[in-house]
Symmetry: C2
Subunit: 135 residues, 2 copies
Amino acid sequence: MDINEIVEKIKFNQDKLVSVIAQDYKTNEVLMLAYMNVEAFTKTIQTGVATYWSRSRQKLWVKGESSGNTQKFKSFSLDCDGDAILMKVLQKGDNGRSDHGAACHEGYRSCFFRELNNGHWQVEAERMFDPKEVY
Amino acid sequence: MDINEIVEKIKFNQDKLVSVIAQDYKTNEVLMLAYMNVEAFTKTIQTGVATYWSRSRQKLWVKGESSGNTQKFKSFSLDCDGDAILMKVLQKGDNGRSDHGAACHEGYRSCFFRELNNGHWQVEAERMFDPKEVY
């Protein structure tokens, strides 16, 4: 596999990042939106574990490295413009013991746990873990 | 509904935009990733039709205004960081006559029609329309 040939089709932005949507490979639930640089993208393929670039910490971020709730890489799809990637994953939970875990560091299955209802953003999901007990 | 109260929970980036993932409200297929500013977000709620900010054309963009393949707005969810939105939609097709249409201007159901297989980005979907006949 020629990683350069794969990567050259991706249009990274001025910060050398590409948007990556993580989606459950079975249910199609959208779990989160994060970013990858070339190194994170390459490591995700090589290790089979979703690896992002943390914009807040400015470093490579193996998702779940603290909580154990890693994401097993399943597939990458590239959009028509080449500037967004859809990644299917298996979201581990319960410190890696479960195959149906929480993607969000706030303990929810998906980071998109607040829905606009009657003019307010309301939490529309149940917590799968208590962040205070995990981090 | 107080639109200011809703919008102040959204963290727009330095270009005053927020990333929006459009997802089919029934099948959970991810259709596209695009951007909204406050005006696009507000118009989407007010009109019930997905309206984005076109970064290439630098103007409001009612998705499907040329092709007729509009997106009926169903719901908004905000992520934990407040800087990404998941929007569920009904994707119209066949110039608005069908309720199962193509989101991509290249004629595919989803913009994410190229999948990484055996080291190559390969088209893994069938065209629903021929762009030459539509645009």
